[in-house]
Amino acid sequence: MKKHLRLTPILLLAAFVAGCQGPCDSIDSITGPQLTSGTADFTTYVAAGTSISAGYQSGGIVDRHQTNAFPAIFARQIGKTVLQNGQGDFTFPSMGHDGFPQLLAIKSFSPLIINNTGRTLGYPAANYNQATSYQNLGVPGAIAFDFADTTRYHATADPNMFSVVARYRGTIAQQMLGQAPTFVTYEYGANEVLGSATSGGAIAVFPASSYAALLTGHMNAIHATLPNTKVAIFTVPDVASIPFCTTFKPYTVMIATGAVVELKGPNGDLSPNDLVLLTAKDSLAAGTGFPVGAYNYLNPAAPGNGRPLTNTQVLNVAEQTAIRTAAGLMNTAVDSVATRPFVVKVDMAALLSSMAADGYTVGATHYTTSFVTGGLFSLDGVHPTDLGHAILANALVDAVNAKFGAGVPRANVNDYMSATASASRPAMPENVLPGMRVDGLDTGLRALFGNRW
């Protein structure tokens, strides 16, 4: 009897352990905050802008990525339905197949071959005949001038993105205001300087004063027509920090001595701060741009031939300065307009600077602005990936929440890490046509890969 009494407390302890409820249960999941709009109103959202707004990446627009363009992500965060067929309550000209134009794809790593050969051209089948204007009015190649002026709509080269998006239904401004949006994103400015950057300065920068005047005029027009509508505008990023400009170094080493030597440009030796553009790939692969006897970092089999790179292949320091000066003036205009109560600034320039300097870490995966391997820029070296768009969308969310006291939930960036930026990569065919072909980058790629995690 006494022994039984002694065992009782032990049995009680055992019962306690076995019956652990509550504390032993796993934690409940946390649901995101509910959308609140503060002083903003998200009833009708229309986006106007450039290829970035359109979701262009890897050289084209395709439905899979259009649904992940930052305006589409933002639309989702404010409760809109975004569908791949472009319908739902945030519509856009959905492009099927492999995109319009066909998106670039990696065909081989060694040598690195990127092209869109053999891919099927997409067309806006699903909702091209939609009777109303699209909510995403982003047009690849558009500048602020195009917002309310159709002069360039039908003069631009094929493929003409204006005919796909604007569809001869009036200016972007008319189509936007016609929907009486309560919230607008106005993302222009990048193309004003990008043309100059990607042409090595051959195309002049759009005059910053003209951009400033257009921006102010457009804000006035929107506010006059829709006095309660809130507008998000974007700063102009430093386009000289995109992979298109930063992938190739302006120097190499002499094979015999190991001495560092500058590449050759149209005006003699490049300076260490000159940028060799992605468009120089074929010349570099042939040894052009490398001094005689110099190591060709792109294609060691073709040592330097001493011939210079052309003006359009190099963005020299003076050209960079012109671009940065223009972007600075444009951003001053953005700052000035953003002081108005209905306008919020999204600092895309600061975001890109931060990415270029420090990259971006999600979990233990580190992303950089490196070409091909970085994960933030698509295969054209200019446009962000889905993940880049999600990060930009969150910058928009943060800015809107701060300015208008809204509670728009941030997007989960993990939802925007798609497997590829160009649909699935096809198996490498044996005879790849030399489209965008970069031979011999594999050694450099391995070095890049080696440091990823």
């Binding site: 009494l5 002694r6 407390p9 032990i10 302890l13 306690f16 352990v17 652990c20 504390p23 032993c24 249960d25 796993s26 934690i27 409940d28 999941s29 946390i30 649901t31 995101g32 794809a105 990696i106 790593f109 060694s110 999600v362 979990g363 233990a364 995966t365 992303y367 091909v372 391997t373 970085g374 994960g375 933030l376 295969l379 990936t385 889905d386 993940l387 880049g388 999600a390 969150n394 939930p409 941030r410 997007a411 989960n412 960036v413 993990n414 925007y416 890490m417 798609s418 497997a419 590829t420 930026a421 990569r425 594999d442 790629l445 391995r446 890969f449 080696g450 440091n451 990823r452 995690w453």
Partner: protein, 432 residues
């Protein structure tokens, strides 16, 4: 010599069988004696069994004759995590596999005279056991999927009674520490939409390596009703220089990508790190209002600020070297316990509060440190014709506060951690 050899054998045995876990702040384990644990660990002043080797070596002179003590705690852990945006995202939940750990304790004490006593012990005052379920999809897999830290301490202490009321103790600690961290390396799929793929299983393992420290203690027994104690254990730093790092490729199914990954995968190689085990100081006061009751309050401070970083240095692929910033802060622990000695048995109860040591930025899937509330209940029996056997048991219900990273985790892995630990311990001692 014979004792020494068997002690060594036990050390190796214990090390092999003792994956351990942190049930105290950081990666400390306070479960080192069933009787004291019945009082929530409040035993620095009143400890009166062989676990004095750990809790207060100065009390060894109060233990008559010789004693051998074997004990262990079954710790059962329940850990889970709920994520928030932007990473890993709202709605995401993760859990660890339920852990079962048995940190063992072995003590030996011998009072040589009224003035001199010595004690030796083997226990695991530090440890960590992390094992996230479904490692290949666990959202924190880049940092850790599974990790163990073992700290098996071999301790020898001497006690000397300066006066019948006041004794001091001092000793030597050899801490054998081993560590293993498993993680899954992810890499951005090149040219992709930002997706990352699992590309390699990474295993970093360091075998048991000794580090050395010392301890000192004081016990003052002014009268039959009062006891006061203080104990100090020094910090121990263990440099593991002979660890092994292995990288096993995980195929993604994309042959282009896999070929590049294979070319860039580091070879198996040596890895080194430095493990830091902080100093601890405890002070306690015990009051026995009647001969059958003892109440004690202890305050313990652990110098966690020692744990500032965790370096990982590879022998060959030095580009992968990293230093994980931890920046821990010293933490406090307060415990209150009581013991009631009845004719047939003794019962004990207690409560402790253990402050977190990790700053909010260091609350990670590797070490989701949080404040803890421990409630304990203990029982003891004296057995045998000559009362030479003592059996003690206790149960600890350790309620770990849910801790949110408040969006500040160093690697941007944010959410709330939940944990609960149940400890059930038993010890058997023989005195003669």
């Amino acid at each position: 010599m014979k004792l020494h050899r068997s002690a060594l054998a036990v050390a190796i045995f214990a090390a092999l069988l003792a994956p351990t876990l942190a049930s105290g702040a950081g990666y400390a384990i306070y479960e080192q004696g069933a009787a004291v644990l019945g009082m929530a660990g409040a035993g620095t002043a009143s400890v009166h069994d062989a676990s004095a080797v750990f809790y207060n070596p100065a009390a060894l002179v109060t233990l008559e004759g010789k004693s051998a003590y074997f004990g262990g705690t079954w710790l059962s852990t329940h850990n889970s995590f709920a994520g928030v945006d932007p990473n890993p995202g709202f709605g995401v939940t993760e859990k660890m596999n339920t852990g079962n750990f048995f940190p063992p304790t072995v003590y030996w004490t011998n009072r040589l005279s009224n003035k001199f006593a010595y004690g030796a012990g083997l226990n695991a005052p530090f440890g960590l056991g992390v094992d996230w379920a479904d490692p290949e999809t666990f959202t924190g897999r880049g940092r850790v999927t599974k990790a163990t830290l073992q700290g098996v301490n071999a301790n020898f202490s001497l006690a000397y009674a300066l006066t019948p009321e006041l004794s001091i103790g001092a000793g030597f600690d050899a801490l054998f520490a081993g560590v293993e961290v498993n993680q899954i390396a992810t890499q951005v799929i090149p040219g992709g939409g930002g997706g990352a793929a699992n590309i390699a299983q990474v295993k970093l393992k360091g075998g048991l390596t000794p580090g050395y420290g010392f301890n000192g203690a004081l016990q003052w027994r002014p009268d039959a009703r009062w006891k006061f104690g203080a104990a100090y254990r020094s910090e121990i730093v263990v440099d593991i220089t002979d660890g092994d790092a292995t990288f096993t490729q995980m195929l993604t199914g994309d042959t282009l990508f896999d070929a590049v990954v294979a070319a860039g995968l580091p070879p198996a190689q040596g890895v080194s790190t430095t493990l830091k085990f902080p100093a601890m100081v405890s002070v306690g006061g015990a009051w026995s209002p009647t001969p059958d009751w003892t109440w004690e309050v202890d305050v313990n401070k652990t110098m966690w600020s020692l744990f500032d970083e965790l370096p990982i240095t590879f022998a060959t692929t030095t580009s992968k070297n990293s230093v994980i910033t931890e920046n821990y802060e010293d933490s406090w622990r307060v415990s209150v316990g009581a013991e009631h000695r009845l004719a047939g048995h003794t019962y004990r109860f207690g409560y402790y509060y253990d402050q977190e040591a990790a700053p909010i930025e260091s609350v990670t899937p590797l070490l989701p440190d949080a404040p803890r509330h421990g409630v304990t209940l203990g029982l003891g029996w004296t057995l045998g014709a000559k009362k030479q056997w003592t059996l003690d048991a206790y149960n600890l219900a350790l309620f770990v506060e849910n801790r949110s990273t408040e969006g500040q985790e160093r690697d941007g892995y944010n959410g709330t951690y939940k944990a609960y630990v149940n400890g059930t311990g038993l010890s058997l001692a023989y005195h003669w």
